[in-house]
């Protein structure tokens, strides 16, 4: 379990994250939603250990995060950043291999290949990363994170996946398939925390939803309790968005699960 208590991060007089408490449990898919500048990425950076909070505590499985060396943290959690650009032509396989090496894998190449296959990039092993499309790069990075925590639970201790806008540059099908891989990870006992902008995706995949606004948690809990007209109206400033069909002339698509022929 990863816990945050009273976490506050201030930058130049402004509180980016203000007294936030979070519990991330194994087996749960938690999602942070909220408008731009709400402090979502900052909170995730604090939880992953990248950023030290100005106040408050982060604990991994009961021990304060400061007690962990970077190499120990790397075996407990992996992070998918928003976008990564390279100035050197590593191949997709070499990038993913780095994640497997960070985990201390006996056979990092084998694990890297499996991770690429899990994100649907079998056959992309030899492609130079800079030549891939934005979405493909994103999935290579996702594979790198998966290779870093290949088993959702090790010796009874859950591993964590932090995903910062994992669907940002992906098409509809891949958005869902990436989140399905993450959901499988949670279902097998792992911890998943994702930042999402698409409320429909958040509502479908999250077991636990955190609504963040101006650095504070406005609401948290199951989707049914948190996604309602009041919260969405207050946070995003849009009225009447929840559970209503748009006007007749506006087409809309409501993706709910991947189409599996024959299913």
């Amino acid at each position: 379990m990863i816990t945050a208590e009273g976490v506050t991060v201030s930058r130049s007089g402004r509180k980016l994250v203000d007294n936030v408490g979070v519990e991330l449990r194994g087996g749960h898919f938690s999602v942070i939603i909220g408008p731009n500048g709400a402090g979502k990425s900052t909170l995730m950076k604090v939880l992953s250990g990248e950023l030290k909070p100005d106040a408050g505590q982060i604990a991994y499985h009961g021990s304060p995060i400061v007690r962990y060396q970077p190499v120990q943290l790397a075996r407990l959690r992996a992070v998918l950043p928003q976008s990564v650009q390279l100035s050197f032509p590593f191949t997709a396989l070499e990038i993913v291999r780095m994640g497997a090496v960070a985990q201390g894998a006996r056979n990092p190449l084998e694990q890297a290949r499996q991770a690429l296959a899990r994100v649907g990039l079998r056959g992309f092993e030899a492609r130079p990363y800079p030549s891939l499309s934005g979405g493909e790069q994103q999935r290579v990075q996702f594979a790198r994170a998966l290779a870093q925590v290949p088993d959702p639970v090790v010796d009874g201790v859950p591993r964590a996946l932090f995903l910062d806008e994992p669907t940002a540059s992906l098409d509809l099908g891949h958005q869902i398939s990436v989140l399905e891989v993450a959901r499988d990870f949670a279902a097998a006992g792992g911890i998943v925390l994702a930042i999402l902008h698409d409320l429909n995706l958040a509502a479908e995949f999250a077991d636990h939803l955190l609504v963040l606004d101006h650095g504070s948690v406005v609401s948290q809990g199951a989707c049914g309790e948190t996604v309602n007209d009041d919260t969405i109206g207050n946070v995003y400033g849009i009225a009447g968005a929840v559970g209503r069909l748009p006007a007749e002339h506006i087409p809309f698509v409501l993706p709910q699960a991947r189409h599996r022929p024959g299913a």
Partner: protein
């Protein structure tokens, strides 16, 4: 060189370049041996390959004078060339990894001139203001001065060009120019107050040469280069991860600040010590890693050791050319590497997919 320019065809079909890496290292070891033989058998005196082979097989057909040429003149020069070449190429490759930029080179960004300036200060002021320091440090005075010159310079450069973990190419090159200009100005001042003997020494440093190689010089550079090469296994994985950015490297368990400190010290050690014994020799640090990246890929596991071997071999070949092309006179080796390296650098700038300018501001 054209034969090496096969960027993506050289990639193994399965995306893994481990085997290529080992094959390249093996080929480079052979190249180093060949380059050493060339270096040992070329020079203005008539001692050639046949004499060298006779010497190596223990035949006594050699005159004692020839033996002296081989043992006291050429052997230290060859050893020095290997060490200097290895230091230059590895420091270039490390710096490119640190700055996440394939154009970063200690020569181009001004670290070499910082080290050279410190060396010139040591030459000119070693008898007066810095005399006590020179007394204490003895033979290591010059290399240590150059090392600290390079260290201060690398650190300064990193502070200026890197904001929030991102290095701007423009800031890097511009601060390199500014630091280079400052170094040149102080150097001019030193030339102004230097006496004739010191002047000759200064000319030597600024053009770069392996002439005057002695076992003393080999021994004075050896600990620095051993340190730099010894650091390779400890920084290679971290530098690979650092290519994805500071944050991603930390996520993958790399102690980023410690890694950067080690790399900066290693770069300064390599630059400073090579400048101290051979002057400033340009472009080895950018050309060798670039060519090798085309073959082994950018992974530092192979790039760094391959650069050490490739840099040593390239410098020995360049030095053999410098010694023979204008016999009995000797060209400064810095002239040869610049004649070869500057066009390659320009070619890199021209190439479309061949190079990316890193994070431009």
């Amino acid at each position: 060189m054209k034969a090496l320019a096969l960027p993506m065809k050289a990639t193994g079909a399965d995306g893994d370049r481990t085997i290529q890496g080992f094959v390249t290292l093996g080929a480079l070891v052979v190249l180093v041996v060949v380059a050493s033989l060339i270096s040992l058998s070329s020079g203005p005196t008539g001692v050639g390959l046949r004499d060298l082979l006779a010497y190596l097989t223990g035949s006594d057909s050699l005159s004692s004078q020839d033996v002296v040429v081989l043992e006291a003149v050429r052997l230290p020069r060859t050893a020095l060339g290997l060490l200097v070449g290895a230091g230059l190429a590895v420091s270039g490759a490390m710096m490119q990894g640190l700055f996440r930029n394939p154009l970063a080179d200690p020569g181009i960004v001004g670290v070499t001139s910082g080290a050279a300036l410190a060396a010139v200060l040591a030459i000119v002021l070693g008898g007066t203001v810095l005399a006590p320091l020179a007394m204490v440090l003895g033979n290591q005075f010059l290399p240590l001065m150059a090392f600290f010159g390079g260290l201060i310079n690398t650190w300064l450069l990193y502070l200026i060009a890197t904001k929030d973990g991102r290095t701007s190419t423009t800031a890097l090159i511009l601060s390199g120019i500014a630091i280079g200009a400052l170094a040149a100005a102080v150097m001019g001042l030193m030339i102004f107050i230097a006496d004739d003997r010191q002047l000759r020494d200064i000319t030597f440093w600024s053009l770069g040469s392996l002439g005057g190689a002695t076992f003393g010089r080999v021994l004075s550079i050896l600990p620095f280069i051993v340190f730099v090469l010894g650091a390779i296994p400890f920084v290679a994985r971290g530098l690979d991860a650092l290519v994805l950015g500071d944050a991603a490297a930390f996520h993958m368990g790399v102690p980023v600040q410690r890694l950067k400190r080690i790399v900066i010290i290693a770069v300064a050690a390599a630059c400073g010590s090579t400048v101290a014994v051979a002057g400033s020799i340009g472009f080895v640090g950018i050309v060798v890693p670039h060519l090798l990246r085309l073959v082994t890929g950018p992974s530092h596991r192979f790039l760094l050791p391959a650069s050490a071997l490739g840099g040593g071999a390239l410098l020995l070949i360049a030095d053999s050319v410098a010694r023979t092309v204008a016999t009995p006179a000797e060209l400064p080796i810095g002239v040869i590497t610049a004649l070869f390296g500057a066009p390659v650098f320009l070619f890199l700038l021209l190439g479309k997919g061949g190079i990316r300018m890193g994070e431009m501001p």
